[in-house]
Amino acid sequence: MAIIVNLDVMLAKRKMSSQELAEKIGITPANLSILKTNKGKAIRFSTLDAICKELDCTPGDILEYRKN
């Protein structure tokens, strides 16, 4: 897929663990892992909103479009 999730980069910048973020935004670590490893098919606005709120960033910081 041409959409890349840069969640690990943002987590490293904010010095936050995946487990911590998962707990804060209320999703399971397994689901966060699916998102991080680009295996997800879609992301809900509510999830994106929660991630942006916790990491203090914009959707553009997390999602990136790369041509194949």
């Binding site: 999703i27 689901n31 699916i34 997800g40 098919k41 879609a42 809900r44």
Partner: protein, 162 residues
Amino acid sequence: MKILGKKSLSTVIKVFLWILLTICLIVVILGGIVVINDFNFFNSSNTLRSLIILYLSSIPAAILITQFIGIFKSLENNDVFDKENLKRLRISYISSIVMGLMYLINSIMLFLSPEDENWVIIYMLLTYIITLVFLIFGVGLIVLSEIYKRAIKYKEENDLTI
């Protein structure tokens, strides 16, 4: 009564299908022994051909029942949208259509070379009914497998929406 899960309707149907498969296999084996011992059965080419087709049709029939046992086993384990079920449905519709075509060939051959008219008309009607039942069942399974394929796709999408 529950439809899915342990001790449900799926379990009852699965057990029933196992019994049916066992009875079918016993009938095929015993039937073969009886026919071989009584050569009068082979006095007409129509009977011989019908018998051979009936025997050969037991192979797709056994495959069909086996696939349905697998489907009901997965329903019993609550794996409703299992990809294996899609494969089982595909094998089932191929088996069903093969059976329908076997009976269709027999019906056409009976129509082209009638020996005893009264017997042939009754038998032909029966084979045409069986042919139609299996062909319609096969087509129904094609539609069902396509719906199932889409359902699995939607479920995967839903599971991977975070």
